[in-house]
């Protein structure tokens, strides 16, 4: 009698074949921009199909002592198929003009900043805010983003995640060392000063939060600011007003909004855009006052003073050393850069919000014309 795990691999084979069939069909009728993406997904599914066949032909799959390890393999493949179905296959199946517009915009941004990898696909299918599936070269944006400008700098934050994952040795490792050294120093000082055990423990907990997610989030904000300039800071401010909760308190995946803002400002200072910080900082303080929140006493235990400046310096130096192009400020190029357009949009919004809607419609029309994508 076949083992349960053997039967499950048959289910996998069927699911994989079905998704492969879909990917091939969608690829054959996709726009030329999307065809390489669909072809790549189909190729991955074909390799997976071969692997599943190998497992099914492996006589050891029916050995009871090994069943749990084959079950482990089954689970890994099943999860991959689930992600493929809900990520790339969904994106390809629903791909329309708005997605084409966003994908071409992302491709242009990638060209401008000298993004070191192939531009990811970008679709307006997010079920909440922007998010990325890095393994599938896929960015999800909210449904209305193709018609708006103010949140588009967040695309740069999502692109930065690809860099932190794929160039971890250059970008993430130096930052990990900076953080580790700083917390080691703080722990030693805490010990020397006979801090309460609970406070010393809190330092260790903070360090764990940095290690889990915070460091990458700070790093991605900073790289996005390096590429996009003050516009990213403004987008962050807007995001905090929309989706933020406790300004001075982080959560397991994201550091506190206030600390993220400090990180963004640290990059702007590092890049010599100090004059732009004043306006941002003034609006930030206004938002803090409006929200009636204040810094908690233990804020510095989570975000040691000076640490974000060190990280900002490292991010900028590494980006420069890797040939990535920073935001240069106002420019008069014949074809305006996307980062420049986004900064102009924010400047317009901050100084003349009443006329911004009309301005935005015009800019989006120009961009659609530039990228040769018709309105939906």
């Amino acid at each position: 009698m076949p083992t349960f795990v053997y039967n499950l691999f048959h289910d996998l084979r069927q699911r994989c074949a079905s998704l492969l069939n879909k990917a091939e069909r969608l690829g054959s009728k996709a726009a030329s921009d999307v065809q390489p993406y669909a072809t790549n997904i189909a190729a991955r599914l074909r390799r997976l199909d071969t692997l599943i066949e190998l497992y099914l032909r492996d006589p050891d799959i029916k050995v009871s002592e090994l069943a749990s390890y084959y079950f482990g393999e089954y689970r890994n493949i099943a999860r991959f198929l689930h992600e493929t179905e809900f990520g790339p296959i969904l994106a390809l199946e629903r791909f329309g003009n708005n997605d084409l517009f966003l994908s071409r915009l992302v491709a242009e941004l990638c060209r401008e900043i000298q993004f070191p990898y192939a531009p990811p696909l970008c679709v307006a299918l997010a079920h909440n805010y922007y998010f990325t599936l890095p393994e599938f070269d896929l960015i999800f944006a909210p449904a209305s983003e193709p018609s708006h400008l103010l949140a588009l700098p967040d695309l740069l934050h999502e692109l930065a995640h690809f860099v932190f994952i794929r160039s971890a040795a250059e970008f993430a490792t130096p930052l990990k060392k900076i953080v580790a050294q700083r917390f080691k120093q703080l722990r030693q000082q805490a010990k020397q000063k006979n801090w309460a055990a609970a406070l010393q423990k809190q330092l260790s907990n903070s360090q764990q939060l940095w290690e889990d997610h915070w460091l990458e989030e700070f790093g991605c904000d900073m790289l996005a600011t390096y590429w996009g300039g003050p516009a990213f800071g403004w987008t962050n401010l807007r995001l905090c007003t929309n989706l933020g909760d406790a300004i001075f308190i982080g959560n397991p995946t994201h550091p506190a909004d206030d600390a993220r803002t400090q990180g963004i400002n640290a990059v702007l200072r590092e890049m010599g855009h100090s004059s732009k910080i004043a306006a941002l900082e003034s609006r930030w303080q206004e938002m803090v006052r409006l929200s009636r929140q204040s810094k908690a006493n233990d804020f510095d235990l989570f975000y040691p003073p000076g640490l974000l400046d060190q990280i900002a310096a490292s991010v900028c130096a590494t980006a420069k050393a890797n040939g990535m192009l920073p935001f240069h400020g106002e420019e008069s190029a014949t074809v305006p850069k996307i980062a420049g357009i986004l900064n102009q949009a924010w400047a317009h919004f901050d100084s003349a919000p009443e006329s911004f809607a009309a301005f935005e419609v015009g800019v989006i029309q120009d961009l659609r014309q530039r990228f040769n994508v018709a309105e939906c």
Binding site: Y69, E73, R75, N128, Y130, K184
Partner: protein
């Protein structure tokens, strides 16, 4: 008036309960990817070593496969020992391939398992010497695998099954 019949005049009453996970999907996707990759590499290595132990001759247990699996396990165990020895619960100064969630779960396990560090040290010695692993050492490796799989499943669930 029955409170149930009171018209809701709160302008925000249309808002449904939302989970506190806005904009965290990228972080979760990355966390899942790290955990899944680690779990898969470890599972494949242990499968190979178990096949050799049982004297199986099927695919995936050539001498080269076994050597690669042994080397992967040495790297994982050495990195784990280093991370567990550092009681600061923090960031690795050097890059390693251990997902933070796996290290965190093993730190918790370490407080329950008195001899975990010592057992890992003995396992590394066995592997480096090219000796056969004992039954207890296979059990230890299985428990590491369990931790890796739990971390991968947990992040997958948070990412996709909310």
């Amino acid at each position: 008036m029955n409170p149930k019949e009171t018209p809701n005049l709160n302008p925000l009453s249309f808002r449904a309960e939302v989970e506190d996970t806005m904009s965290e999907l990228t972080s979760l996707a990355i966390e899942f990817q790290e955990n899944a990759d680690f779990s898969q590499r470890l599972n494949q290595a242990v499968l190979t070593l178990q096949k050799r132990r049982l004297g199986r001759a099927g695919p995936g247990c050539t001498d080269q496969d076994v050597e690669q699996a042994r080397q992967l396990l040495i790297d994982v165990v050495a990195q784990l020992r280093q991370r567990l020895a550092d009681d600061s619960a923090g960031v690795a100064e050097d890059s390693d391939s251990l997902p933070p969630q796996v290290v965190q779960r093993l730190r918790e396990k370490q407080t329950e398992t008195q001899y975990l560090t010592q057992d890992l040290e003995e396992l590394e010695t066995t592997l480096r010497a090219g000796k056969e692993m004992t039954n207890e050492q296979f059990e230890l490796v299985d428990s590491l695998l369990q931790v890796a799989e739990t971390a991968a499943s947990a992040s997958f669930r948070r990412l996709w099954r909310r």
